[in-house]
């Protein structure tokens, strides 16, 4: 018993006295790295960028084949797609132009967009304050993050009009943001992208072009220029891409969505080998009525009978005597995909930007070849000279045929050309105020500085 006594007493003594700081110190959890540490090393800094790209690929406005991506939602919001999906206060309402300020999809889009903005801001801050990364690394990391942030902001601006813009990480500041006017946002984006192009280089980090380079940033900058009606600048930006030896026009329609093409400026690689591009499975259905969305009659009618895109980029499905065309630009189903990545920017868009910039400067003859390129690839004859309004209409129509269900370009084009109200012909619920989506109601409740809500909602 004496031994026991001693043992007890000593243990008690140790534990009674030892109640100090050391006892409650813990190591970092094994799945976390200190923020400063992330930007001490190129590998971890790149991993932070990977988080950004994975987010863009999996759930963002540029994610194709998603109920939260612009390709699908804006395709249906405008006149390219018909909705066969069913939900409440979500996709169906957006397709019918009946979105409420509580729309769950709009809320998700907003939330993920600003989350990605924060990630980008965090990376920009990390790169700027790194003391160990080489300057060139700091530059391209910051440039890529700036580029991604600008891409998100541009979509947000186009969807919501005036938006809160922030480059800060301070949550107190960010929780009281006011809206920045659309014009000011575009001006800011121009500055941001000009900085990004100066920080990035033409070299791709990966030969498969899965990370953006300076040219991708220039394309985005060109989108901003045409929105700001800075036609010569847009022309110049487009020209620098067209003149680059990195890119060649893809003459084969069936190769446009194959990942090896040199007409691709930037594409998103699926996570695993074999994974399908979201678009491929999203629109897919067979032996039933459609599950998600099909090509609208209105869009179908804009294709000439012999337009190859109607047979190569769409698939006809029949069920109980009814016919539908589903978008089929990407064809490989899950488990079966080796050569398709989700294309974000392709050279064809630069052709259309060039055509628009030239046409707006009344250089229609110079513009025409850029318009004819995709026509001819689709098996159509080149158009002879067009004038004024006819050229503009044809530009819009041809871009629609080329980019249907891609990135929401149709909606942005109609908006830029001031033709959104044309939608009333096929969309019974269309009204002028619907050019903007409502800000999520929850957001307005949490931050009154964001008031007023967009008109009409």
């Amino acid at each position: 018993m004496n031994k026991l006594k001693i043992y007890f007493l000593s243990l008690l003594g140790v534990l009674l006295i030892a109640s100090c700081e050391k006892l409650v110190e813990v190591d970092y959890p094994t799945n976390q790295i200190g923020t400063e540490q992330v930007f001490e090393d190129l590998q971890t800094a790149h991993a932070a960028l990977v988080g950004l790209y994975a987010g863009l690929r999996d759930q963002s406005l540029i994610t194709g084949g998603s109920y939260y991506g612009a390709g699908v939602l804006l395709g249906a919001y405008a006149d390219d797609l018909d909705c066969y999906y069913y939900d409440q206060n979500g996709v169906v309402d957006i397709s019918n132009n009946l979105q409420q300020k509580t729309n769950s999809n709009i809320e998700t889009i907003w939330n993920t967009a600003y989350q990605q903005v924060y990630y980008a801001n965090s990376i920009i801050y990390g790169a700027e304050h790194s003391t160990t990364l080489a300057e060139s690394d700091r530059n391209h990391i910051k440039g890529e993050a700036l580029f991604v942030r600008s891409l998100i902001y541009l979509y947000l601006q186009q969807l919501f009009g005036d938006i809160p813009y922030t480059a800060s990480l301070d949550y107190e500041y960010n929780s009281k943001l006011s809206k920045t006017s659309a014009a000011a946002v575009l001006e800011q984006l121009k500055a941001d992208l000009e900085e990004a192009t100066s920080l990035m280089t033409d070299d791709y980090r990966d030969t498969e072009r899965i990370y953006p380079n300076r040219k991708a940033a220039q394309l985005l900058l060109a989108r901003v220029y045409i929105l700001r009606q800075e036609w010569p600048l847009a022309e110049q930006a487009a020209k620098s891409i067209l003149q680059s030896p990195l890119y060649q026009f893809q003459p084969d329609l069936d190769e446009v969505f194959h990942s090896s093409g040199t007409h691709i400026l930037w594409q998103l690689q699926p996570q695993n080998s074999g994974d399908a591009v979201p678009d491929a499975s999203f629109y897919y259905f067979t032996g039933s009525t459609p599950n998600s969305f099909v090509v609208s009659q209105d869009l179908l009618h804009t294709f000439a009978e012999n337009d190859l895109r109607k047979t190569h980029w769409m698939a006809l499905e029949t069920f109980e005597g009814q016919e539908w065309y589903r978008p089929c630009k990407y064809k490989n189903l899950p488990g079966d995909n080796t050569n398709e990545y989700a294309v974000v920017f392709r050279l064809e868009e630069v052709y259309f930007i060039m055509a628009e910039a030239l046409a707006r400067q009344n250089r229609l003859d110079e513009a025409l070849p850029y318009l004819n390129a995709t026509r001819q690839r689709a098996g159509l004859t080149a158009l002879a000279s067009l004038t004024g309004e006819a050229f503009n209409s044809e530009l819009l129509a041809e871009k629609r045929r080329e980019f249907f269900a891609e990135s929401g370009l149709r909606f942005f084009d109609l908006k830029r050309w001031g033709r959104l109200n044309d939608l009333s012909a096929v969309k019974p619920n269309w009204q002028d105020y619907k050019q903007f989506w409502p800000l999520p109601q929850k957001e307005l409740l949490l931050n009154t500085n964001l008031s007023p809500q967009n008109t009409g909602y």
Partner: protein, 1004 residues
Amino acid sequence: MQKDKTCPLKLFRLLFLRSLIALLFVTHANAQTITVTGWVSDPQNQPLPSVTIIIKGTPSSGTTTGADGRYTLKGAPPNAVLSFSFIGFKTQEIPVNGQQQIDVQLQEDVKALSEVTVNAGYYAVKERERTGSIAKITAKEIEDQPVSNVLSSVQGRMAGVSITQNSGVPGGGYNIQIRGINSLRADGNYPMYIVDGVPVSANAGSVLSGITFPSNGEINPLNAINPNDIESIEILKDADATAIYGSRGANGVILVTTKKGKAAGKTAFSVNSSYGISRVTNRMEMMNTQQYLDMRRQGYTNDRITKYPSKAYDVNGVWSQDRYTNWQDELIGHTAENKTIQLSISGGSPQTSFLISGSHNEQTTVFGNGFRYKTDNLSASLNHRSADNKFTLDATGLFSDQSNNLVQTDITKQSLLLSPNAPALYNANGSLNWENNTFTNPVAAYNGTYSYGSKTFNINLNLRYELLPSLYIKLNGGISYQAFEDLLLYPSTMYNPSYGITPSSSTAYKSQNQRYSYLLEPQLNYKYRAGDHEIDLLAGSTYQRTKNTEMRVLGSGFESNALITNLSAANNVWVDSDVLTQYKYAALFGRINYQYKNRYIINFTGRRDGSSRFGPDNRFASFGAIGAAWLFSEESFVKERWSFLSSGKLRGSYGLTGSDLIGDYQYLDTYTVSSTSYGGSTSLYPSRLYNPSFSWEKTTKLEAALELGFLNNRVMFNAAWYRNRSGNQLVGIPLPRTTGFISIQANLPATVENTGLEFELSAVPVKTEKFQWNSSLNISFPKNKLVSFPGLEGSTYANQYVVGHPTSIVKIYNYEGIDPNTGLYRFTDYNNDGNITSPEDNQVIKNIGVKYFGGWNNRLAYKNLEFSFLFQFVSQNQWNYNSLTPTPGTKYNQPVEVLNVWSEANPGGQYMPYSSGANSQKGLLHGYLMNSTRAVSDASYIRLKNVQFSYRLPVNQYIQNIRVYVQGQNLWTITNYFGIDPEFVTIGFLPPLKTWSFGLQLNF
């Protein structure tokens, strides 16, 4: 008729016994002393072991009864008086008068109940000397109920403790509120669980379990303990009882004590087996096919749609319009079975005793389809005391193995919403029917299973040594280990074949969580008594370390679904999460208890805590309480004037407790590794918004209570008032998403107050030799209020809380009725802007929560028969079915109440004319309805919670006793609630089930 036969035998026996007695008498008549033998029993004729028998006047001579209740006392003078005493029973004195056989039946001493001790965690206290608020139930109440988690048997039995089962699916969680909700943080309200002295994690689930179980996938830790292994449950409520748990005591403490072997008994075996069946408590009356199709067609007519859309299979002729299925019968109408068997062995010597118990339990679900929950438990306890009584050792080991296999999404909601003319679930050949790809077959979801296996191991060791007289040194130590594995499957067969999904898209998640924790608590305890003074001192320290590992792997793409549970067969495998986290906790604690004249008691408790959950500058804090009691019935002026008062106590306490329930590492500025990869590289994401300066949430508790006993304590009455105030609220403050995140961890200068009154009345209305009726009633009136919230108006909580109202309020639209001109719902437009908008117009404040609750428990015993029943009652407001149901007229079934639709001919109709879904205005208005005064209503209920009927068969020489019992749970409910069942935490999940169980217990 048998009289004749027995007559000779009786005669013989009589003669034999008489002569034997005579012989013995003669033998001893000459001696100075005699030997007395006999049998001591309780009022139920059960043998009473360990009864002390002494010869009055010579306390040194005496004996005790054995496990069979028998005793032998040698050397008693023939004229002696024997005294029979035992705790809880009235002492009886019987003159020997030369008898050599004295059988005694001891009567229970009701007053002695106050001698019962209550476990307060670090110390035990006599019920009469208790200064704090501690509720208790014992094995007696627990074993009456056919439940697999002991918390179900606490429901309705404790004042101030509100318990709701999260769902009727076995193996899930419970919502427990001990004196209300203190924290604004939803997951900051878990009580602390301590099993045999060792803390266990309040949620035994994982990330994946959140897909299947409501309330964040909570799996209750007490699922791992067989209720029949539990000796008692004590719930600590006020400051006096909880402050010694410091930073973890704010939400109350649940102490679980398992059964121990009884010293000095013969080796006893016990077998207990039961079989039960369970069904849903209630079904909603939904529309039949005719009513449903009429509604649908009317919806299209109202929307001026003449050609039914191609997708409207229910009305456009693709599906048969003559079919009718009651989907509640089909999907949640199965009978669940419940089988239990338990074996135990106990025994020991005066120094050492043991108890070993093993049990197996199996439950199926009302979903059918072979889903099953199984538990195996093995528990062992060993208690030893040295011959000189100076050293004691108590060791307990609890092992449990649970496995649960379930459909991953609760199908209850589907069973209500599915069109009544939807096609058959299965084809003639037994395969799933997709009705040519037009039918989203609900049981296809059954292919997507969620299953878990949980192995837990708890060991507790408690050593005590009497160093000097009355000075004890103690060590409480323990290990708690849990290995939790789960598997979530998404095979391609879950999906409609028209999606073209093949096994190459099948996905399986597998996760493994291990929680390992150890605890060391050395303590010193000193008891001093001199004259009228009594002091009890306790000092100790705690060191706890917890290590959690989590590994979650995702596999996708299989050659065949048959291989889906084996991730090595997946085309792509990636590790979703691989993380090790630590939690360290250290503390010093103490208690000073002083009693004067056995009637004035004062109790100080305190604790200084350090926790790794806070940033380096905020790790330590101090907590403490003072409690006092006055046993005024001991005062002579009370004794003289109020002799009917057999006991009376006033007590009160005040103190500070805390909460550190925020998860680990929230103060760090980090990036988190994610399995999501791009370009073949893994990714890093910012973990959270950075705030290193948050600290403890603090709750001050104040209580006053009166405890009275009348008529020799045959009637007991307790009343308690409490006021708890929680400040420095530790919450994730909601942020606008422009900050990149949903919230930030911080202390909020808001104060939440919980006040309440609790009453308990217990009585023994009838007590005769053969018949006894015990009855007890408890009722609690909890009140929750947000007392202050500086800056609420400008904060992100502005539309969630209102100062002066409970924190469980909802702000909803005011439903005015149906506009007779338009036939549309009308809501109050508070700001008169012509639009119904939020937050301007959802101005009606309703409290979702309990107004009062309680239980009425009765136990009637007649000879060997026992009958008990418990009524539980709850008065509350809840969301009703209007908050869940989709727009009437869309492709979802509706309750028959929706038939009462408004029209000019039926101006009293309660629902707007139907819409197929194409009328967006109606969709919008229905959305307001779902969030209006129509969607919140009274959900009070009275429930026959438990009925138990048992019969003890007479004993024979081999079998000590046989007990046969029938038990029922949730048998009968009275409610006006509009919905499937008023007892729920999250609407739309399977409510608790109704159970009948039959069992047999053998002791030998």
